[in-house]
């Protein structure tokens, strides 16, 4: 069994128009910038994929990564908790212009809905958002005398995630707080593609320390020195680079 993929282009080749795509990361930490940029390259070359529903905690920052994906007009709907950043203009303008739909989900509910999607739990109850605008239209029930809101699972066609090391079986470990949504999204997508800084031999990752077991991963592609969104933004980077 070998889940390694030879290139970023091949890694994103199977994503269809209209797909639901989960993208890992919390702000820039754990964001699979190179996979996102490969998806943009494919779109610029072929016109596909478009009309995507993207699930991410945020809505991009500056003009790279998720913000660049949105800027290209590839995203029809965004499911997120916090569409703000140092420079959220790309999303903000499209959102206010009605060019992109926003489903705002409390962060813990977003995480739990994704976990539920991966764990075969179609619905669960949470105290979060009870009595607020974000609970409107959702069933409410009391347990042990407290009211709870029912939330539904969230699943995806594809998850694009970033890990630190991975083996050819798809076992993954992450780097510090870059873990965040990545392991959850890996469980909730039909196809999970992980970019990793280093592909290692099976057994090189201590089985006690595996965070994402290979069963949740369909493809692994090596990106040896991944870009960090914060550093790209400090350098005013734009993707794709624009002619001067």
């Amino acid at each position: 069994m070998d889940k390694t993929l030879p290139s970023l282009a091949e890694a994103v080749a199977g994503i269809a128009d209209g797909a639901v795509v989960m993208i890992g990361g919390f702000g820039g930490s754990g964001a699979p910038i190179e996979l996102i940029h490969a998806l943009i390259d494919r779109f610029l070359a072929t016109g596909s994929p478009r009309n995507l529903t993207v699930v991410n905690n945020n809505a991009g920052n500056g003009h790279v990564g998720l913000a660049a994906l949105i800027e290209q007009g590839m995203v029809a709907k965004l499911v997120c908790s916090f569409p703000r950043s140092a420079d959220p203009r790309v999303f903000t303008e499209k959102c206010l212009a009605g060019e992109i739909e926003l489903e705002l989900v409390p962060q813990g509910t977003l995480a739990e809905r994704i976990r539920a999607g991966g764990a075969g739990i179609p619905a669960f109850y949470t105290p979060t958002s009870y009595g607020t605008d974000l609970a409107k239209g959702k069933p409410v029930e009391e347990f042990d005398g407290r009211p709870y809101v029912r939330e539904l699972w969230l699943k995806a066609d594809v998850a694009l995630i970033k890990a630190y090391k991975g083996d050819r079986l798809g076992n993954l470990v992450f780097n510090k707080a870059a873990r965040n949504f990545n392991p959850l999204m890996a469980t909730a997508a039909t196809t999970t593609i992980a970019q990793v800084s280093e592909i290692v031999e099976p057994g090189a990752i201590d089985p006690e320390s595996v965070v994402t077991p290979g069963i949740f991963v369909q493809g692994v592609v090596e990106v040896a020195n991944p870009a960090q969104e914060e550093e790209l933004n400090r350098a005013d980077a734009v993707y794709p680079e624009r002619a001067a």
Partner: protein, 223 residues
């Protein structure tokens, strides 16, 4: 007419359908035997619900590590690329549909795909373990079983008489006499022992067999 596959041979037959790279859970007891017959060149990855993915064979006697056991509480060994995880993550793999195949034993299987394999009735202390999760967990849920009970009664039935493990969950049954798919609430015969007529097989089966134009021979392997 008295020819039939042994348990070992049934396990061998079931193993032939497991693809390279498949994630597989084998129920405790008889189904564990399936792991011994992986066809050459294929590498399945075995999941055990107590928290291991990618374990290997049994250790030599005396070399057991009792913190490294399978769901049947038998000692196993590690292979490179193993992962450990807790029970909730383990059943997320099961319930979330991440396994390719689960192979279970059965008291009864109904043509509806219903399975009874956890309780023989109200006597004694009931025990369910992970069976009710596994029947909803895999893309393909298969059963391996003798075709009839020790008393010669059909185990493949119209409706289960024993307490159910799951509803409409089984998709293929490997028996001592045949391989039978469950499709649209019917038993569809795929393979049978060549020495056995369809009528004889039907006589040992508790619900109607749909017999397609092509029924393959069930191979009796030399093991």
């Amino acid at each position: 007419m008295s020819a039939k596959l042994s348990s070992t041979q049934i396990a061998w037959r079931a193993a032939q359908d497991i693809q390279d790279g498949a994630y597989v859970n084998l129920g405790i007891g008889f189904p564990e035997m399936v792991a011994r017959f992986q066809p050459p060149g294929r590498e399945a990855i075995f999941h055990t619900e107590n928290g291991i993915l990618g374990f290997g064979e049994a250790p030599k006697p005396g070399e057991e590590d009792w913190d490294l056991i399978n769901a049947g509480k038998k000692a196993v060994t590690l292979k490179p690329g193993t992962a450990f995880f807790h029970h909730a993550d383990s059943f997320a793999m099961v319930r979330g549909g991440h396994l390719d195949v689960a192979i279970l034993g059965a008291y009864e299987v109904a043509e509806t795909g219903d399975l009874a394999n956890w309780s023989t009735g109200p006597k004694g202390v009931p025990a369910v373990g992970g069976a009710m999760d596994l029947v909803h967990g895999a893309k393909r849920v298969a059963v391996i079983t003798d075709h009839v009970t020790k008393d010669g009664k059909p185990k493949l039935v119209k409706r289960c008489s024993l307490p159910l493990t799951g509803v409409a969950c089984v998709t293929r049954v490997y028996t001592s006499l045949a391989v039978i798919d469950i499709e649209g609430g019917r038993f569809v015969l795929r393979e049978k022992l060549p020495s056995l007529s369809v009528d004889d097989l039907q006589a040992r089966t508790g619900a109607e067999l749909v017999v397609p134009s092509t029924v393959a021979d069930l191979v009796t392997p030399e093991l």
